[in-house]
């Protein structure tokens, strides 16, 4: 266990084993951190805003890169990995194996499944619900207010295996069904159908996503992406996917 002498750790913080805390890290009371966790320089973890006493829970085997800020009142499963300078407000309930890219901003009060991967500079509005194995690429915004500004929120729902390409916006209350591919720079203003490609401003259904071929010369379908993309997933997960597609 290493804690840099410049770090400021509340005396009530609970740690597992094998903890590595960088310089100028702040960790607030009511924070519970698992084993094998690294929190890099300049992070502020468990910022307490006085609204309730819900703890911040960080699972085992997690890496929080430098200058990140995570408020109290959220829970993350095991194997959390963040980029630099992520911001996470209170009320997030996230599963295992979440990856949050550099500069990504999670506004709080949302549900995130397992194996979700957010790239850099993603904006997750409050009241979003994100399934499992979802990919969200840079500068995507999930919205929540149908007539901004207001006090009436309609969070979006992103189902399993969805891939949202860069700089797309999903409008309030929209349901993006399983295995949808959202093309780059789309404005998603209607619910999507499972397994389709939608694109444009406003987004329209273009075709079944399965009609998109890999550009590696193999002429195989690029979607559902779990037909061919296995990087970083556990063997049992990959084997299930291979069985699903008779690979």
């Amino acid at each position: 266990m290493f804690i840099h002498p410049s770090a400021s750790i509340d005396e009530n913080v609970k740690f597992g084993n094998n903890i590595n805390i960088g310089a100028n890290v702040f960790i607030g009371k009511n924070t519970i951190i698992g084993s094998n966790v690294t929190i890099q320089n300049g992070c502020e973890i468990g910022i307490y805003v006085g609204e309730n006493d819900a703890p911040l829970i960080i699972g085992n085997n997690s890496l929080i890169r430098s200058q990140s800020i995570i408020y109290s009142g959220s829970s993350f499963g095991d194997n959390l990995i963040t980029g630099h300078r992520v911001t996470v407000r209170e009320g997030v309930k996230a599963g295992d194996n979440l990856q949050i890219g550099t500069l990504t901003d999670i506004q709080g009060n949302c549900f995130i499944g397992d194996f979700v991967r957010m790239h850099s500079n993603v904006h997750i509005g409050k009241y979003s619900t994100i399934g499992n194995f979802v990919w969200i690429f840079p500068y995507v915004v999930l919205t929540n207010d149908p007539h901004p500004p207001s006090d009436f929120y309609m969070g979006v729902s992103i189902k399993d295996f969805v891939s949202i390409s860069t700089m797309s916006v999903v409008l309030p209350g929209i349901i993006v069904e399983k295995d949808t591919l959202i093309g780059a720079k789309s404005l998603v203003s209607r619910n999507t159908r499972e397994g389709t490609l939608v694109a444009g401003n406003p987004a329209k259904e273009i075709c079944l996503a399965s009609k998109i071929k890999l550009k590696d010369g193999s002429k195989k379908s690029a979607y559902p992406w779990r037909r061919h993309f296995y990087r970083g997933y556990p063997v049992d997960v990959v084997n299930n996917w291979k069985a699903e597609f008779n690979i």
Copy 2:
């Protein structure tokens, strides 16, 4: 008054009463800070770039969240609240009750009225003029160069009560008239008419904004938003709005 021992405060900085300065904060000469002000960890305030001697003025009752950077040569009224990691360059003249969201980047040399609320990751180009009670949502960009790169700037003008939805761009020199609603992901290339909804790429006038109904089941008009949205505004302001609409 609390100043963290790791903070570095120039001896000429002027403070009011009840000041709270976090760890590793830097405050440069020529900075004037009001009373009841909190500046959180890692902020750099009053960075002096040697171009002129204009001070940085921060009003009373202000909260500057961690890792924010504000240069010298700007002034902010009372009740400034920032998110984390905001950047503000020199030459901003802002009124009271400004809110600046996390990661928002104000490039300097602009005017900002009272009660303006910028959400996360907004980009305000130089020479912008923003009225009172304006809302600017995430990833909005106000531009200034009609033929980039050039040395000829045409700032945009955003009038009172305008709401600019997420990921919209306002082109150089455009005037967005009072009570305009700009839809998500719009490219605003023409001046708008007061009280209208514009949307699209390029943005077109869709209808009077007042035709948009609240989705809370009340069937009331959602715009002008001050008909129904009062969160965080003073009682006298709200009473004026209620009188305006006979509420």
Copy 3:
């Protein structure tokens, strides 16, 4: 030479003359820094991720503004200037006089020529190739994955003198030819022709860029921009441009 006492500098770091290192700066082993270099507060430079031993090289006369993060395994020529909180991953090979704006995120494994200027909040995907004298404005994204997520990358190629206006996306594998102007909020899905304006979602060729007139009243062509815009370029470079256009 000034090194703030709170800075943490690996003993193997090599410095030129006249070095200025701010508070809480971290510099990792295998970092080689030229002369007349300032690294401001809170930067992390030469972060070593253990994949190879390639050094980080920062040229002479460079300024790295506060809270920036640059990994090991890249090289930058002389006169590098960054904004605040830039992020640069490993494998960047950049020429002289690069400017990287605040919050810009360079994902690594890319080539960048001389005199490239990236504004705030630009996202450069891996495997991008950027020529000389290129301008990239805020919230531009250069992509690389034709069917995200996948392991097959097609970097984009941006040729000399290109100007990419704010919030545009360049799709994977696209070649943006010399002197192209990309309009604001474009989705560039086809290779461009030299000296043209493309704009829209998807972007279409609008006209020769040379047909765009300066709005300063001079009625001169605004493009190629080197006909009229010389700020910050060396005299010999500007003289060549003037000769090219008989100015």
